[in-house]
Amino acid sequence: EAGVVQSPRYKIIEKKQPVAFWCNPISGHNTLYWYRQNLGQGPELLIRYENEEAVDDSQLPKDRFSAERLKGVDSTLKIQPAELGDSAVYLCASSLEWTSGIYEQYFGPGTRLTVT
């Protein structure tokens, strides 16, 4: 079974430029998450999708970040314009529908973004 696929793996851009990340979740997983992980820290949730609906985007900086999950499968996360502080690893994860408080999230390898 293929895991969560993310691209690109690495991206270096200058500040004020736009950037986009792509995620393909595990087949059949209707829940998709985008996390940001700063160096030496744990992941922090940015947005969570149930199918094509964003059910939690409270931590997404909406002035510059946007996300979409058309058709409830693939997802893209965009930053425009990027700032120096956006340098981090952006992780995508997916899971089956949550039931009974027991579930597993499967993470992709992440996209390492460097803003110069």
Binding site: V4, T31, G42, P43, I102, Q105, Y106, F107, G108, G110
Partner: protein
């Protein structure tokens, strides 16, 4: 906001030594997970503990969920160089759906 604090933040040991890392919170969790993350990769789930006081073993790794469901520990016996990585705990709060709150991680280095 439910916070998870992990300790120690960094740990460097020799191969063959034992170690314990801790994950603590003032909040109660319905379940708690441990992940290991290697450089350039995403976190990989090691275990989920659900019941207060639960102990789970995964080869040389022993995971315990506190009786009050606020804390957890991970004990590694006879560490190997392949155990090197970032260990993350993540809790699921009550009424949180499938939301995970991650701790800051313990970075373990096992030297040969």
């Amino acid at each position: 906001t439910q916070l998870l604090e992990q300790s120690p933040q960094f740990l460097s040991i020799q191969e063959g030594e034992n170690l314990t890392v801790y994950c603590n919170s003032s909040s109660v969790f319905s379940s708690l997970q441990w992940y290991r993350q290697e450089p350039g990769e995403g976190p990989v789930l090691l275990v989920t503990v659900v019941t207060g006081g639960e102990v789970k073993k995964l080869k040389r790794l022993t995971f315990q969920f506190g009786d009050a469901r606020k804390d957890s520990s991970l004990h590694i016996t006879a560490a190997q160089t392949g155990d090197t990585g970032l260990y993350l705990c993540a809790g699921v709060g009550y009424n949180a759906g499938n939301m995970l709150t991650f701790g800051g991680g313990t970075r373990l280095m096992v030297k040969p």
